[in-house]
């Protein structure tokens, strides 16, 4: 009876020890795996930073100027407006009257599209 108890006790202690050892091995196994993944993640982040830096360099104005400098020494910012000086038409009132439309031309204009420019009163 005593022997039975002793063996049972040994069995359970050994079992616990094995479970503990297995747990520790698993923890270290996961730690090694994590370390590899962490190293990989670090490398990816570093590569990402380097790529973003290169993008910043290539899109920087000094770099673009250096690339274009052989062709455009004096390129300037384009204006989004252009003002044009129109010449005076010197149109007389008689000529204005002649430009008035007759009934026939008005009828035609109703059914066709036509661009029209009228002189502006100065």
């Amino acid at each position: 009876m005593r022997l039975f108890r002793f063996l049972t006790l040994c069995f359970f202690i050994t079992l616990l020890a094995l479970i503990y050892t297995h747990q520790q091995i698993k923890i270290f196994y996961l730690a090694y795996n994590n370390e590899k993944k962490a190293a990989l993640l670090d490398k990816l982040i570093d590569n990402n930073n380097l790529l973003r830096y290169n993008l910043a360099v290539f899109s920087s104005l000094p770099y673009i100027e250096k690339k274009l400098s052989n062709k455009f020494n004096n390129f300037e910012i384009a204006s989004n407006t252009r003002s044009l000086k129109a010449l005076s038409l010197n149109v007389t009132s008689n000529e204005l009257k002649e430009n008035k439309q007759n009934i026939f031309s008005r009828f035609i204009n109703l059914i066709t599209k036509q661009a029209e420019a009228k002189p502006i009163n100065p």
């Binding site: 370390e35 570093d46 502006i120």
Partner: protein, 511 residues
Amino acid sequence: MHPLAVNLPAESLYAVPVEIKDKETVIKKLSLILKLDHSYLRERLFRNKAFVWIARKLVPSQVEQIKALKIDGLGFIKESKRAYPNGYLASHLLGFAGLDNVGLEGIELFYDNYLKGKAGLALFLRDAKGNKLELIEKITPPIDGSDLVLTIDETIQYIAERELDKVFKVFRAKHAMIIVINPFTGEILALANRPTFDLNRANYTDVEVRKNIAITDMFEPGSSFKIVTAAAILEEGKVKEDDRFFCENGSYRVGNHILHDHRPHGWLTFKEVIEQSSNIGTTKLAQILGPDIIYRYVKSFGFGSCLGIDLPGEIAGTIKSPKFWSKTSIGAVPIGHEVGVTALQLVSAISVIANGGLLMKPFILKEVRNRDGEKIKEFSPQIIRRVISEETSRRLKDILVGVVENGTGKLAKIEGFKVAGKTGTAQKIGSDGRYVHDRFVASFIGFVPADNPVIAICIVIDEPYPYYFGGVVCAPVFKRVASDILKYLQITSEKLVALKENEIDRVNKNH
């Protein structure tokens, strides 16, 4: 927004001297890759130490070559390296960080506390081979440094530097400076000096080149300083624009000194005195005011004291107290001699006239953000003091428009816009303390559009050659820089606004 400074990963090479068997072979191989002296490497590898640095923050190609050698006793530690994608752009303003990422100049130094963050701490396990395991026993997380959002506009900075480069080279100048500022807020939109340097190679650049001379060096401004005298006399109500002054046909005795104009003038109105930049006319105005009033306005405009810009190294300049003025000082100080000013003070002074009379504190840092982009601090414009009234500012604006339309600043004219400005040409002082006749400082300060200014600009060229007049050397730079900036900011010309309004009126009448 584009980053102006970033951290990049960089590996640093160390050695454990006791573990290296054949040191001479290692020295030869490393010397070829790293381009280092044999004597330097020998000194390092023969040290009786467990750890020595060989080279810090190497480029990836060098790291790969050394790793391929598979030498026992050499290892790499990962660090971070400060890198500047724009190279030379805004180099004096940004500054740079040293080997340990500690700011040494410019914004990097001034705001190092925000940028550097706080190191963390981690205790982790190693295996029997010394390999680190991802098993952390104790951790204090690091606090990342903050991101700084600056007031400078990258495009405006580029435009300013491009034109500064041209004038610096064409006129073979000793130095050149340009500052572009928002006159209403004091935000610095661009600041540049020549000669300049690549921030990624700051360690190989001469210390003199790295100085931000726009705030650390002073010079006698010459005629551009006359805006102070003109503002003072208008504010004190002593003259009107049409009051006439006899300019002595170009020669006038002040104390024991003969004062000259660059061109002889007879009778000029007060407006014409400033437009034609008559030294004699300005001296007569100053004589009406007296030294004490002039000194008061000079100080009020911000000269003789630091403006408090958030950059290291700003100097106050010099202005003598009236009790130290000689008999000739009344003919010197009001025309910009016997005073030492910085380019920053000049641009702030012209901004006073542009914005209706307020001296604004110039600043560079707009916001501080955390790593997630959230704003944690914001900086607002600050008024230092009111210098002149709005009415005086308006009258002075008209006079300065006259300088560009009719006077010495014609080369600063921009089609479709009213430009206000003042030229300056100052003789330099030689080593014997006397003014020389072959070395000058040329300057132009101005703002545009005159009625509703968007930008104020100061250009200073030290020792231009062969031409040296501010109106010839600096005014065209102002024109080119301001034109491009106005296009970039899509500021419509006053002519176009008038045309558009006329067209709207016409359409409304027809309907």
